[in-house]
């Protein structure tokens, strides 16, 4: 199956990128640990999940009919994202099984730093695939711009809650920078390695952005239905919608629950039911579908210039 073949080649590329780390120090295993978790390039889990690590390859192949020249870039993105995971775990400090929780913050920072450097090294390997140095530089520029945006988004996410935190436009700005930027980057880089057509490259960057926002909203919905974002508490799209629609006791209840200064544990079932009854979950579902529609529309407009759209549609199911 095409998916298994691409996943195997990507794993080989990532393994090669980290192979020179001395194993007798234990560092190689620690760096690898960040890459074997679910949805990362070295994950051994076989599920029906969307093949996110393969996205740059799928975009590249959809446009040009080939993908092997994009393998170093796909490997680099996995290394960047794994580095981001570790930094995120340090900053959020909300998991008992994360790398910083298991090995300490100092070791975790060192692992994340190494992953970032390895990602830069992996990008330079594009030259061995015949990619022009000028294009490699442009790819680095795109990646660095989107990594910087992700840092700004993370800063906003970590900053104390203010009234603007409860605005839908502010929410979309943060998730666009913090989360959707990763998908945008994967699609943009895949397209850059497939075509010189700037319009097509930009179309795929926008496709990735819309896909990324839709995925984040799906995360938000589960955060409410499973209660994790209520207990934390985390202000997400359903909460923002509900607060804009209710008043009186319901408004005060929501505001109190999602005010991060409150120390009382919220009744997550009561809050979840309130969010369902106000239509907040349905609103989030419709917004998710809206971003999927926009992504699909972008694909439809470039359909005549791409060879394989079906694999891209896997991400819009």
């Amino acid at each position: 199956m095409w998916q298994n073949k691409q996943a195997r080649l990507l794993k080989d590329e990532i393994e090669a990128s980290i192979s020179f780390l001395a194993d007798d120090t234990g560092f190689h295993s620690l760096v690898k640990e960040a890459l074997v978790k679910s949805k990362r390039g070295l994950s051994t889990r076989t599920t029906n999940d969307k093949p996110w690590p393969l996205l740059p390859l799928i975009v590249c192949e959809a446009i040009s009919g080939k993908y092997k020249n994009a393998l170093p870039a796909a490997a680099a993105l996995q290394l960047y994202i794994a580095a981001g995971d570790v930094f995120d775990d340090i900053e959020d400090a909300d998991s008992s099984v994360s790398i910083p929780a298991k090995y300490g913050i100092g070791i975790a920072i060192n692992i994340a730093t190494a992953l970032f450097i390895l990602a830069e090294k992996a990008i330079t390997l594009l030259e061995r695939k015949g990619v022009e140095p000028s294009l490699i530089m442009r790819i680095l520029e795109v990646i660095n711009s989107l990594c910087t945006a992700a840092c700004v988004g993370q800063h906003l996410d970590l900053s104390p809650i203010s009234e603007t935190s409860f605005s839908e436009d502010a929410y979309l700005k943060v998730v666009g920078m913090k989360s959707a930027s990763q998908v945008e980057c994967a699609c943009h880089v895949g397209a850059m390695l497939a075509t010189e057509d700037q319009n097509l490259q930009n179309a795929f960057a926008k496709f990735g952005y819309n896909l990324g926002i839709a995925s984040q909203i799906a995360n938000d919905i589960q955060g409410i239905t499973h209660g994790s974002d209520i207990i934390k508490p985390k202000v997400t799209l359903p909460v923002i919608y509900a607060l804009s629609q209710v008043d009186g006791e319901a408004y005060n209840r929501l505001k109190f629950t999602f005010n991060q200064n409150s120390e009382d544990a919220p009744d997550s079932t009561e809050i979840r039911d309130l969010l369902f009854h106000t239509g907040a979950i349905h609103y989030a579902v419709v917004k998710l579908e809206l971003y999927k529609q926009q992504a699909l529309d972008i694909l439809s407009k470039v359909e005549s210039r791409i060879t394989n759209m079906e694999r891209l549609k896997l991400f819009l199911r």
Binding site: K39, E168, F276, T278, V285, V286, E289, L290, K292
Partner: protein, 72 residues
Amino acid sequence: MKSQALQDLVKKIFNDDKVKQQFISNPDSVISQYPLTEHEKKAILSAHAKIGLATSNSGQLEATYSPDTMWS
């Protein structure tokens, strides 16, 4: 970007039982009363076709919109 028409529509459906029933049986007749974009109309109909209205935590909602993101 926030869409006021979309917010107004969802608010009306969840606050007015008559409109809710009309939407469930004939969503187009309700949608046509709001200045929605074509993408918004398609999004509303797509959500309606997949799960109806998300009024409670259901297996269908979980199965249709399980998070499947690039990140954790």
